[in-house]
Every structure is written in C-alpha cells, then in structure tokens.
Amino acid sequence: MDRRKFLGLGLAALALAPLTKLNATDFRKEKPDAWKAEKPADAIKALYGDIKPEEKGVTIKAPKLAENGGKIPVFVKSDIDAKSVAIFQDANPRAAVAVWTVPEDGIIDYGITIKMKGSGKITAIVEGKDGKFYSKVLPIEVSKGGCGG
C-alpha cells in the first residue's frame, strides 16, 4: 500500500470514529447549558425542560456525614424502565455532576465518587421511558470541603 492511500484510510477511520462511538445522546455536546447552570433546578430545566418529577422510585445511597468532600461515594438505584439518569448537587459552583444514558435492558445501579465544596443536597432525576420523571433528594453533611481545598 502506498503512503497516500494509507493516510487516506487513516483519515476515513478518524471521520467514522465519532459516529460509531456512542449509540445514544452525548449530553455534554447536546445540552451544554445544563453543565453551566448554577442551581440544580436550572440545570434540570436545561437538561430535560420544564418537568415536574414525582418523588418516588429512586434511591440515593451516600454517607450522611462525609468527612472528606473530595471523594464522596454516591449510588443511584431505581427499578424504573428509564432512558437516562442524572445527578446534581447544590454545593459546588455548578450543579450538574453526571448524566447516564441507560442502555437497552440496562440496570440502574450507578456508583460514582464526587466532590462537594460543603454540605448540600444531592438530587437524582430518572427519565422514565413512560415520559415521566422521577426524583430523589438527599442532604449530605460535608465536614471538609473537597472542591479546590
């Protein structure tokens, strides 16, 4: 294979890569405003629109008192047949922490370690396939802030 052909192939592969990489929504690209919002309510609005989530069907597991705000383990669980799951908090400069796209036949039992500047509330939103939204709010006490501390 000559060099030109080889380079051409490489370029073609590069062009194809982003298209085949994800099967669903890249929330960072499609909803940039959701990641800039300061308050959870605004971030939720930017991500999902004007929704009124029901407070049921979602559980958050996290320590009540987190000694180190730099690494707080948070689990979100739900049995709802869902499209996506998002978590927010109100202690940091911006609210959005992470958004999961639930794959087909997926299990909602997501664990993640997050940072929080101080005590605050964690909000989890589950977007059901039935078009409804479900939520859970959990307050957490943080004794040593972990955002830039």
Binding site: G70, V97, W100, P103, D105, T113, I114, K115, G148
Partner: protein, 96 residues
C-alpha cells in the same frame, strides 16, 4: 485505569477506577493548573454499549465508577474514558 468485572446470576458487577486529576475550572484557577476532567465513560461488550456516562469537573480525583449489566462470564468488557482535552484511555477486562 483498573477494570474489574464479575458475573453472578447473569448480572455483571463492574468497578472502574480511572486515574485522572479531574480538575474543574475553579479548582484549576486555585491550583494554577489547566482544567481537565473526564467527560465520557463508555463500557462495551462485543460492540454493544452497556454503560454510558457524561461527567463533569465535580467527580472526584481518580474517580471510581460502579455499575451493573446483564452479561455472562468469559466475555470481554471494554471501558473507555475521554477527557475534556480529547485524550482517551481504553482498558479491556475479561468478565470473571
């Protein structure tokens, strides 16, 4: 990056430990470093996506991700993270 996947009764439990500074913009200013954090984590088995997450600078340093999916022993799980600068790392692990 460390990836561990273990199957029991058709459910695969996965632990992913990504080695990343995960610095948000405010923190970057304080520490005089460039803001950079993991923006996506994708897990695949045989080309099928089993895990997909979009993250922010508010995940911890060296974040730990845990998740479950329906799968079987012997399959290979491939986990890839990508950060704000576009760098990415992929690690494969056999489901035990």
């Amino acid at each position: 990056m460390k990836v561990k996947a273990k199957e029991k009764d058709g459910i695969v439990k996965v632990k992913v430990l990504a080695k990343h500074q995960n610095i948000g913009p405010e923190e970057a200013e304080k520490k005089k470093k460039e803001a950079n954090f993991i923006t996506t984590v994708v897990g695949k088995v045989g080309g099928k996506v089993v895990y997909e997450m979009n993250g922010s600078g508010f995940m911890s340093k060296n974040p730990l991700f845990k998740f479950k999916f329906k799968g079987k022993k012997g399959d290979e799980l491939e986990v890839t993270w990508t950060d704000l600068k576009g760098e990415s790392k992929t690690k494969k692990a056999k489901i035990k």
